[in-house]
Every structure is written in C-alpha cells, then in structure tokens.
C-alpha cells in the first residue's frame, strides 16, 4: 500500500506530457529498482497512454528495468578500452565466483551483465555493483569488493 502511494506521489511531480514520460519512469525506477506492472499501469493512466506503449518505452532503455532485479546486480564494461584492460578476465572471475553466465536472468540472487562504455575509459576497467561504480578493476581484485557485498 505504501509503495503504491509513493508511485502516485512521484507522478504528481510531473505534468502528464510526452516529454515527461521518460523522466517519470526513471524516477520510479530509482525509487524501486524497477518498474513493476502495477506501477506501469499507474503511469499509463496518469499519462493517458496505452499500457503497451509505456512498456514498449520502458523495456527499451538500459537504465529502466521491467523485471525485478536480482539482489546483486553486477555490471562490467565491455568497451574497447576496458577490454584492452582486463574486463574479459574480470567477467570470467565473476562467472566462476558465482557459477553464473553473463546475461542469464534465472538467478534471483546475482546477475552479471556486460554493459556498454560509460565514457570513463581513462579510469577503466569499470565494474558496477548495484549502482556503485568501481574504477581500475583487476581480475584478482574482484573478490575483495564482491566479498563486501556478501
């Protein structure tokens, strides 16, 4: 109940105009880590758009999630510069640590994604854990950081 009232509150910050759809979705995503079906329905109603349209837009963007995220969401940059660094080795290390494959969505505890360049190449390789950015990563340094996340 509390959650639904917050979503409605978030929506009230925006005029129901086309240019506000993406900002509103982003704000909801930041608040709840993803955009649930119930929230998407509220957005659709508020902006007077078909639900399919809201979902179509939401599912397009990397920074919007339409599925409930895992407890631990790990992202590793796979841009050219990070690749020349050690990002391929970092990915292997993480895959082995949790016995998961990059891109699999089945594990509710941990997920690993390759992401596109964030333009932080001179500080790369870049790893992001639940939104927190780690710079100049090494394959061997992965375990210490992930250990802190439990």
């Amino acid at each position: 109940m509390q959650k639904s009232s917050t979503t409605s509150k978030i929506l009230l910050d925006f005029d129901p105009e086309a240019a506000n759809l993406l900002p509103a979705l982003k704000k909801i995503n930041v608040a709840f880590r993803y955009i649930s079906e119930v929230d998407a329905e509220k957005v659709a109603e508020y902006f007077e758009l078909p639900l399919a349209k809201v979902y179509e837009t939401a599912s397009f963007y990397d920074l919007l999630e339409t599925k409930k995220p895992a407890i631990l969401e790990i992202e590793v940059c796979s841009g050219g510069d990070c690749t020349l660094g050690e990002s391929a080795g970092i990915i292997k290390e993480i895959e082995n640590r949790y016995r998961i494959k990059t891109g699999d969505e089945f594990n509710p505890k941990v997920r690993l994604k390759k992401i596109s360049c964030l333009g932080r190449c001179s500080e790369g390789p870049i790893m992001i854990v639940n939104g927190k950015v780690y710079e100049k990563m090494t394959a061997s340094g992965v375990h210490k950081i992930l250990g802190e996340w439990g």
Binding site: N20, L21, Y61, L63, G80, D81, T83
Partner: protein
C-alpha cells in the same frame, strides 16, 4: 596565436560550479556582443563563414543546418546532444564537467540565432556528475540574466532544460534522440522529413553535438573568418598510449601526430599494432596509414601487439548486438548473428560456412539497414577482415 585552445583553455583553472570564474576569464562576452551589436542573421553569417561542422562524427555544416531552421517561423527547438555513448569517447562529458558555462553560452547563442525559445540538453543518463554541474550552471546563468525572459534586458528569451537519457547508444542519432524526448522508444525515424523541417513534437529542430556548440562563443567573439583559420578538435586518446585522455589540437591533426604528441607515444614495451578511430563504430588503421588526418568523433584507441583481437571483436560485436534498436531486420538479426559467429571464432571453431555468413552479414549491414548504425556495426569487423585477415585461413 595560430592555434588557440578554443574549448579547453580554462579547464582545471576555473571552478565549474562558479559562474564568476567563467565571467572573470571573459565568459559571456560573446553573448553580450550578440545582444548589443549583432542580430541572428549576423550571427548566422559568422557561423557560416567559420565553416564549423558537426563534431559528433557526421560532420554536417552547422551554419547550413541553422539556416534551414532560422528561415522558418513559429515554434522551434534547439537541442544540445550530450548523449555521447560512443565507446571510448568522453570529450563532451568533460566539457560539461570542466566548463559548463561555455556550453550554455554556446547553446544560448545558437538558440537565439535560429529563433528557438526552448532548448534541451540531451544528457547521457549515466553522467550524474555532469548533470549536477549543468543544473547548477543553468541556475547561475538565470540569476545573471543570461537565460530566462529578457536576456540581458533584451527582447530575447530562452529556457534550457536538461533531459537525462536512460541508456541507449542509438539515442545519439538525432531522430532517435527526438523520439526519446517524446517518450518513445529511441528508434531512428524515417527521413525525410528531416528534424530541421519537422523535429521535436513536429517542430523545426536543430540538434548539435556539445563540442560543436562549445565553439560558438569563440566564433561570435572573434569572427568566423578567424575561426576558419585556427579551428580545433577534441581528441580522446585511449589504449596503449602514455597519456590517455582528452586533448585539443588543430583540425586535420594526423593520427601519427595525435598518438605521438597528444598521447605521448606508446607505453613502454608496447608495440603499435593498429588504431581504431571513432569508437566501436570506428575504422582500423595500420601503422602505414597513420599519416591521414583524424576524422569522425575523434576517439583513438591504440591497440598494441599483445592485445587479444578476439576480445576486441567480441567487444565490438557485443556492443552492437546490445545497442541495435531492433527495428529493422538486417541490423537486429545481423548484429545478433555476427556476435554469435565471433563467439565461435573466439573459440577457434569457425567453419567455412560461418566465414561466408559473416561476409553476408557485413554486406547487408553496409547496404540495407534503416539507419547508419548498421554501417557502423560493420565497420570495425570489416576492417578486421580486410586488414588484419581475421577470418582467412592463415590468420594466427
């Protein structure tokens, strides 16, 4: 002063959070000059004379773009493209983070010149720091009457809004960017009509790259003629060079010079193999080709001989396999299959049929896709095939 630093002059010397610092080094003199002594037509003429062209990669003449929109009446928009999601490129982000006011001054001059009363900065959704700095900068510009109604007491008015993207490479393409602001999937639109005719919300719209815009104050202040003699470009050096980062150098700088002088040469003990110029969509250049000037967005990734080419191929093809908008068949299916074939290639199990398929996919990406992203997706792999012999039997 043959080659001034037009954009990076004050980086690190002024506080990006203080408009006073920018004003103290002569900031907003161009806007004051525009208001006091010029009109939109005069400003447009200067930009046309300057030969300023798009710095995002496409290189379209800025003055020509502006003229189309300036001629039209009614509601118009000016959009600063700061999506910058080409891998290996972060010059625009650094402009916003180091000197946001030069960008705002450029936007204001551009918007007033084309007659737009509303402007958006389409900012990459990952650039949190740049967002905070720009928000603050806009507030301060308003307080100083550079923005809002009656700019510097004149009849001009302008509102700038930051529109933060949500993570999609394709939104750097101007029609996709417009779709994104309109609350749609960030897919390219069919042209014609071009954004300059029917852009954001169907109104005439100019979309310019942030670096392009940051040149405008200098042009207005010093004249288009002088700019045309000393124009510069921001280059982003990455990979196996000593100094990785952004540097400003004259337009026409060769790759060789950029690597040696801007990048400080190769890192110790590393031998040059090839350079990729222009991000994941960039072409590959061998040592003998480095005397050519740098084109495109200005990102240079220097690859040394110890690099694993398969990792890079996976990086490029994986990138486009994720970032294709999915709208047209050759790009959606082609990038997917290309990545799949490269994965097999990396495992050392490529069959003749895979090689044939790879060439077919490259061909259809180059020739039949809806928007230029298809061509981009093929570029680096095509060069890896042609120049590095990546699928030929004698490749090791």
């Amino acid at each position: 002063m043959r080659n001034p630093k037009i954009i990076t002059e004050h980086w690190g010397k002024i506080d990006p959070l203080k408009i006073e610092d920018y004003l103290n080094v002569g900031g907003y003199a161009a806007l004051k000059k525009f208001i006091a002594k010029m009109d939109p037509q005069k400003a447009l003429d200067e930009v046309k004379i300057s030969g300023l062209s798009g710095k995002g990669g496409a290189g379209f003449l800025t003055g020509a773009k502006w003229e189309i929109v300036a001629k039209q009446k009614g509601e118009k928009y000016f959009i600063c493209n700061l999506d910058e999601s080409e891998p290996g490129t972060y010059k625009d982000r650094l402009i916003a983070e180091n000197n946001p006011q030069i960008l705002l001054e450029g936007i204001i001059l551009a918007a007033l010149t084309v007659g737009a009363k509303k402007s958006y900065i389409y900012l990459n959704g990952n650039f949190e720091k740049a967002r905070e700095i720009l928000e603050r900068a806009i507030e301060q510009a308003k307080e100083n009457k550079f923005l809002g109604s009656k700019i510097l007491g004149s009849k001009y008015l302008l509102e700038i809004e930051i529109f933060s993207g949500a993570g999609a490479y394709i939104c750097g393409e101007e029609t996709a960017l417009i779709n994104s602001i309109e609350g749609n999937r960030g897919e390219p639109k069919i042209r014609p009509p071009y954004p300059t005719e029917a852009g954001l919300f169907g109104k005439p719209t100019v979309v310019n790259n942030a670096e392009t815009i940051a040149n405008v104050p200098w042009i207005i202040q010093n004249g288009g003629g002088r700019y045309s003699e000393c124009a510069t470009k921001l280059f982003v050096l990455g990979g196996a060079v000593k100094k990785r980062g952004v540097a400003e150098a004259p337009i026409g700088t060769t790759m060789k010079k950029a690597i040696e002088e801007l990048g400080g040469g190769m890192q110790r003990g590393k031998d040059f193999w090839f350079a990729q110029v222009g991000g994941a969509a960039g072409r590959l250049y061998l040592e003998k080709e480095l005397d050519a000037p740098i084109t495109g967005s200005g990102a240079i990734l220097v690859v040394d001989k110890t690099a694993n080419l398969y990792d890079l191929l996976l990086s490029w093809t994986g990138f486009f396999r994720r970032e294709s908008c999915g709208k047209c068949v050759p790009c959606r299916e082609g990038t997917f299959r290309l990545n799949e074939i490269v994965e097999r290639l990396a495992d050392g199990e490529i069959s003749d049929r895979d090689k044939e398929a790879m060439l077919d996919i490259l061909w259809t990406l180059e020739n039949t896709t809806f928007c230029p992203l298809g061509k981009f997706a093929a570029t680096a792999v095509r060069d890896a095939v042609d120049k590095l012999g990546v699928v030929s039997t004698n490749y090791e």
